[in-house]
């Protein structure tokens, strides 16, 4: 399998993007902000289209749009925890902008069909060049390090914002910082592996980890492990099974992990209930 260069690139980018997604995904789930992550991946999509329509570097548009909107959503929401209605409204408008840029892009470059747009939406982890993969890995490692650097106060302010504020922690700044890192991860993951994989790797590993343990540090590790494991197993499956796209395989494994965690949790609850009787 590793004789093929595209598989090596996919594993390189996939591993580190999954690591970053798994780490930040745990916080995203703890804070109940999966919707925000979903919205940001679409923002990245719109930003890429805008850059394509304007003829500037796609990566620039992607990162600029995602970080700006992330900070905007953080600012609009109360206590830098944007509520779902704010996210939804911004999201809807961003989608509308996406339609606009898509039409501009298509009208502007005759002969181009929307495959660029589709690529952004679903990504092509198997079509990465060695340089792309290395860049994705470097950005993912940087984002993961930044996250781990603020992990302790962020955990505190995520779990109990009132007490954290009472202790003089900069809850609002932490929230914005968290959003900025999420934006970087979303932008990079969207263009390397697609919005689809991003959402799955944000929600499922974090959700599973939260169900499996109440200890946040263990949860972070489990979440990252599930994300990376799903990516490895998913890539392997899609290599072995011809018609299975990589994205679908990775999401499938991650979803199975989440379902297994929910089952385990339910069983545990039952055991506890019987024990208490």
């Amino acid at each position: 399998m590793f004789a093929h260069e595209f598989m090596r690139n996919a594993y390189l980018a996939g591993t580190f993007v999954a690591l970053a997604c798994g780490l930040i995904g745990y916080f995203v789930v703890l804070r109940g902000q999966v919707f925000a992550g979903d919205a940001l991946s679409h923002v990245a999509f719109t930003g890429a289209l805008a850059a394509a329509a304007a003829g500037i570097d796609i990566r620039l548009g992607l990162f600029a749009a995602t970080i700006l909107v992330a900070l905007g959503m953080g600012g609009l929401g109360s206590r830098s925890r944007p509520d779902d209605v704010v996210i939804g409204s911004v999201f809807a408008w961003v989608l509308g902008l996406g339609v606009l840029f898509l039409s501009l892009f298509v009208n502007g470059s005759s002969g181009s069909d929307g495959t660029a747009a589709v690529r952004v939406l679903f990504g092509s982890i198997l079509g990465l060049s060695a340089a792309d993969a290395r860049l994705a890995a470097v950005i993912a490692i940087a984002a993961a390090s930044a996250l781990l650097a603020i992990a302790r106060p962020l955990l505190f302010s995520s779990l109990d914002p009132e007490v954290a504020r009472g202790l003089g922690m900069p809850v609002r700044a932490l929230g914005l910082g968290f959003f900025a890192i999420l934006a970087v991860v979303a932008a990079e993951a969207t263009q390397a592996v697609g919005a689809l994989l991003l959402l799955g790797l944000l929600a499922a590993p974090g959700g599973a980890a939260r169900l499996l343990t109440d200890n946040p540090w263990r949860g972070l590790a489990i979440s990252a492990a599930i994300a990376v494991g799903s990516t490895w197993l998913g890539l392997f499956l899609s290599y072995e099974i011809d018609s299975l796209p990589a994205g679908t395989a990775v999401i499938g494994v991650a979803t199975a992990a989440f379902a297994a965690a929910a089952l385990a949790r339910a069983n545990l609850g039952q055991v506890r209930r019987i024990g208490a009787r």
Binding site: F91, L199, G207
Partner: protein, 297 residues
């Protein structure tokens, strides 16, 4: 070979803009009115119940349904309704299943369901032979390519959805505003949750075929959110939400008719502009600390 998704290619948006034949506009306005009324009413409850993410997930799940139906050679409408129905069922079963699980668990579950649905859709598209171009029309729709027959079907679906909503409206309102008390009073909150998600799914499936999944979402969220910024009372709020959705849709269609830019852009931009303006006005009106009316709901 089927012509990809009944010719709803997004290239046609620009084609139709050049065509600008009047009957199309009439049908677009009619369909827009039906969609707006339905989305304005359902969306008001959706925003009240804080199920925006669930609503977005349902509108996205329409895509694997359509792709799956195309692959299996079934009518696309069946795929839309089947997928949205299944999605509503899954969201109701797993999403709010454990109430004590709180918002964190809910958000993770919905996200996973959506990602899994999209993954399936991607698989279907690949199996079908990679006709990915139809994807944009699925997501963004072609408002200006609506036939009279589609308008009629849409009308009857809207009547059915609104009738059911009218029947369950009162207990649903109770269950949405104070689920705990409602459950204690014997209101079947879980059944209502499922019923509401199914209604939402039906509305999304019916509309997504015509206006695209993303525009439905815009109409479901922004006008009701604007209305709830203005008033928290259910009656006027619902009326305002429907009125705003209708006005925004028609205005968007009209502006798009005279401009080179797509309907989806105008509808979402006008409604988002309104939302921001109302929020800003409210912010000026309220003294510091008074959040949105329903923040503590």
């Amino acid at each position: 070979m089927r012509i990809e998704l009944a010719g709803l290619s997004w290239d046609l948006v620009s084609d139709f803009e050049q065509l600008t034949t009047y009957p199309f506009m009439v049908q677009a306005l009619e369909a827009g009115a039906i969609v707006a009324v339905m989305a304005g009413a359902i969306g008001w409850f959706m925003v009240l119940r804080r199920q925006t993410f669930a609503g977005h997930t349902l509108s996205v799940i329409a895509f694997p349904g359509a792709a799956g139906a195309t692959l299996a050679g079934l009518p696309i409408a069946l795929g839309y309704f089947g997928a949205c129905g299944l999605g509503a069922l899954a969201l109701s079963l797993f999403g709010r299943g454990g109430r004590e699980d709180g918002i964190a668990g809910e958000s993770a579950t919905i996200g996973t369901i959506q990602a899994f649905g999209l993954g399936l859709g991607f698989l279907f598209v690949v199996l079908y032979g990679g006709q990915l171009v139809g994807l944009e029309s699925l997501l963004f729709g072609t408002f200006l390519g609506i036939t009279a027959g589609q308008v009629q079907t849409l009308f009857w679906i809207a009547v059915a959805v609104l009738a059911v909503l009218a029947v369950i409206g009162r207990p649903l309102l109770f269950a949405s505003v104070d689920p705990g008390v409602a459950r204690a009073a014997g209101v079947p909150t879980r059944l209502l949750d499922l019923g509401f998600l199914l209604l939402l799914g039906a509305a999304v499936a019916a509309t997504a075929q015509i206006t695209g999944a993303l525009l439905v979402f815009a109409l479901l969220v922004t006008p009701p959110a604007t209305a709830q910024q203005i008033t928290a009372r259910p009656g006027p709020g619902l009326a305002l939400s429907v009125g705003l959705a209708l006005a925004v849709t028609w205005l968007g269609l009209a502006v798009a008719y005279f401009s080179p830019y797509p309907v989806g852009f105008w509808v979402t931009s006008i409604s988002f502009g309104l939302y921001v303006a109302v929020r800003a006005a409210r912010h000026l009106y309220d003294t510091r600390g008074a959040g949105p009316a329903l923040e503590t709901a």
